[in-house]
């Protein structure tokens, strides 16, 4: 008989999780780490909702005439799938969960610059989410997440105004988070933490925040104008009354293209943390990788017209946007080469975070290269509006951003929860996700080239085989996503307790306990070494 089971657990050290109990201590918290967890729960909820819509869509599409729902319902499914996944899952995911948790820790501060603004951000996100859920329940929206006019402003009689309000409100959550990060990184770095000693995740958060701060307000005004047009039919986007439907597209894409970089840059930042840790080597070309994040953020604002090559816009505009779109691919390519080179002569372990990071590199490379087909004017004419586009952006957003997010969750899970998860299951899940993902979306490239347009509730029979393949793959992918949900929740109660730095990683966040105390550090650290000081003789304590 062991006495251990009789001892009450009074010796667990004080940390941010057990510092206080009760729902008030969570809903009124100012602690960035608790706010990060509030976001974690909320975005998981929305991921499940958005994912459910996707499941219904893929089931529906196994039959050419549609297997499950009426076309009007299908149109609402793909619209809400897009809106929920983009605005309520992908855009917040890494910044609001991992960024909120890690930015203060990584800069060596006690919290973000504006903790109350941080909590407000979460509430704004929830209110926006409520409007969107309401619109889904009260009849749905069928305009596509792109809300093209005049269909959305004049013809659709679905809950356009409600969802516009929801997206408008949520945009401010994004803006305030970005603002918080920029000020924190500028003004609150610990002594000795110069810009070029910062971990690349911070550079990624910084570049992402610039886009959030500059781009999201344009979305806000665009959605605002759309809502006014839907309500009052004045005609700013309606040709019958003198308006220009393409004006909407320009305004919309001016934000929504940079938005995709909001979704991918953080994931790249995560990968830049994982690879050095699990290769035990400083990242190859640190400064170049840092600058490439900023370059992507800047160039990303100049390419929106590539969504409009077939709208009848001037061929000269098309040329300029095409050229700039090719240019924005270069910094991403540079990152991929630098990550790969980091592995050279490293000491590589196959833990789950590393598998996710490597999956990211592979799938992002493919997704990014298929972007070249779309930046290229002559091929885009054929491919625009088809499943090729759908495959392209899912490779980047799911194969890229979601794998990066999962990799980051797996990497920092011990820090966040103080627990470890079963590495074997985590590795299995990573592989299942990778395989399921490719099975789901690779056939869609072929479908697109064959000419199957996107957003079709039913389709000619000749496209069925590829659709069935895609839906079968989606089943595997769905299983893959369920597995981490299970073992991560399991680990919170039953997982082995983690030491402060289970991976032997560098970075200030690993120098405090797992989980960290509420105030992060007993004393503000002083930084004397470069980032990724893995080499012998570099790390403190060597």
């Amino acid at each position: 008989m062991s006495t251990a089971t009789l001892e009450p657990r009074v010796h667990a050290p004080r940390n941010y999780l057990n510092a206080d109990y009760g729902w008030k201590s969570w809903l009124f918290t100012l602690d960035h780490k608790r706010i990060a967890l509030l976001y974690l729960v909320s975005i998981t909820f929305f991921f499940i909702i958005g994912g459910s819509f996707a499941v219904l869509m893929r089931i529906h599409l196994v039959e050419p005439q549609g297997a499950l729902v009426q076309p009007e319902t299908y149109n609402k499914l793909f619209t809400l799938h897009g809106i929920v996944m983009i605005f309520f899952f992908l855009i917040p995911s890494i910044p609001a969960v991992l960024g909120n948790f890690l930015v203060p820790l990584m800069v060596g501060a006690r919290d973000l610059a504006f903790p109350r603004l941080n909590l407000l951000s979460w509430y704004i996100y929830i209110v926006g989410g409520m409007f969107t859920l309401y619109s889904a329940i009260a009849g749905g929206v069928d305009t596509g997440w792109t809300f093209y006019t005049p269909y959305s402003s004049t013809y659709s009689n679905t809950q356009v105004t409600a969802v516009a309000i929801g997206v408008f409100i949520t945009g401010f959550s994004s803006i305030l988070t970005g603002l918080n990060f920029i000020v924190t990184i500028h003004k609150m770095r610990a002594p000795g933490l110069t810009w070029f000693r910062m971990p690349l995740f911070l550079w990624a958060m910084y570049a992402t925040s610039i886009i959030m701060v500059l781009g999201t307000p344009v979305l806000a005004i665009t959605i605002f104008l759309l809502a006014l047009e839907h309500l009052f039919h004045v005609g700013i986007f309606s040709p019958a009354l003198g308006g220009d439907p393409l004006l909407f597209q320009h305004l919309f894409w001016f934000y929504s293209h940079p938005a995709v970089y909001i979704m991918i840059l953080p994931a790249m930042g995560v990968v830049s943390e994982i690879i050095p840790c699990f290769a035990r080597k400083r990242i190859f070309g640190y400064k170049i990788v840092a600058f490439s994040s900023v370059a992507i953020a800047v160039l990303g604002f100049l390419v929106w017209g590539h969504h409009m090559f077939v709208t009848g816009q001037s061929v000269y505009a098309g040329l300029i946007f095409s050229m700039l779109s090719f240019l924005v691919a270069i910094p991403s390519a540079i990152k991929v080469f630098n990550w790969t080179s980091t592995l050279y002569k490293g000491s590589i372990s196959y833990d789950a975070p590393m598998l996710y990071a490597l999956g990211f590199i592979g799938l992002f490379t493919m997704g990014g290269l298929t972007g070249l087909f779309l930046a290229s004017l002559a091929t885009d004419v054929h491919l625009n509006g088809t499943y090729f586009i759908v495959a392209h952006f899912h490779y980047i957003m799911v194969g890229g951003a979601v794998m990066g997010y999962l990799g980051g969750i797996h990497f920092w899970w011990p820090k966040i929860s103080g627990r470890k998860y079963p590495n074997m299951w985590a590795g299995i899940a990573a592989v299942i996700i990778f395989i399921g993902f490719n099975l789901t979306f690779f056939p869609q490239f072929v479908l697109g080239y064959l000419g199957m347009p996107r957003r079709y509730a039913f389709y000619p029979a000749e496209f069925q085989v590829l659709n069935v393949m895609s839906s079968a793959g989606a089943t595997v992918l769905g299983v893959g996503y369920l597995i981490p949900l299970i073992y991560l929740i399991w680990s919170m109660r039953y997982g082995p307790i983690s030491e402060p730095n289970p991976w032997g990683a560098t970075g200030l966040e690993w120098k405090t306990s797992s989980p960290p105390p509420t105030e992060n550090f007993a004393e503000i650290p002083v930084v004397t070494e470069e980032a990724y000081a893995y080499a012998p003789g570099e790390a403190a304590g060597d």
Binding site: P104, R110, G215, P217, G242, E519
Partner: protein, 237 residues
């Protein structure tokens, strides 16, 4: 002795710092003030992008339908617009003076100038309300009451009536958004008045006054652009 959060007992220096309004995440007031300043400037940049989208749409339609925009502009009361511009500029002056007063520790002057700013802001909003009402009287409210007649109709018809409706849409959208920002500003000013009366601001800590001041100046600058763009199209001289 440990507090609830396991921190060591607050030192005298820290306690003093707490009285001065230093938030726990900052090392000292200087860092806090720099962060606040950067924060509000960044926020103003987002506001520029926000209004910017609206200005861009305005610019495109003005270029396309200049005649209609000119006709619509000439229906606005230029005297009221000019008066409002002066009023708002004056309010920026009183706002700047209140920041200065806070900076020099003059509590009474801070409150007086804040109240003066609020009064001037209120006058602006009152004039705006009157102007909006006039639009209903003249039936030039897009969608809700669009039925221009008589001399108004004669002025708007040459440029195309539906294009004129687009002009008035921008009139309401731009001045409406601006007025909304002013109302929020009035709320912030009221909050400052209440805090200033309590003596919350000292020469070492008056960041909230500065931050709201910057916001107020920004709202003023937006109006400086709106006035010529909406009221002075095509000249009248």
């Amino acid at each position: 002795m440990r507090t609830r959060l396991g921190r060591p007992l607050v030192t005298d220096a820290e306690a003093h710092a707490h009285d001065t309004g230093l938030a726990h995440q900052f090392e000292d007031l200087e860092q806090q003030q720099e962060a606040d300043a950067l924060g509000i400037w960044l926020f103003l940049v987002t506001e520029i992008m926000f209004f910017g989208g609206l200005f861009a749409a305005y610019a495109i339609y003005r270029w396309l339908y200049f005649g209609a925009f000119q006709g619509g502009s000439h229906i606005l009361d230029i005297r009221l617009g000019a008066a409002n511009t002066i009023v708002l500029l004056g309010s920026s002056l009183t706002m700047a003076l209140s920041v200065r007063s806070a900076q020099t520790g003059n509590r009474r002057a801070t409150v007086v100038f804040l109240l003066a700013t609020m009064i001037l802001g209120g006058i602006f909003l009152g004039v705006k309300a009157y102007e909006y009402n006039q639009k209903f009287v003249e039936h030039v409210v897009p969608s809700l009451d669009w039925a221009p007649e008589g001399e108004t109709l004669a002025r708007l018809a040459p440029g195309g009536l539906e294009h004129a409706e687009i002009y008035f849409f921008f009139y309401f959208a731009m001045t409406g958004l601006h007025a909304l920002h002013m109302i929020i500003g009035m709320g912030l000013l009221l909050w400052l008045v209440l805090r200033a009366r309590k003596g919350s601001f000292t020469p070492h800590y008056f960041a909230p006054v500065e931050v709201v001041g910057l916001y107020w100046h920004f709202v003023d600058i937006v109006w400086i652009f709106l006035f010529p763009l909406l009221y002075l199209i095509g000249g009248r001289y």
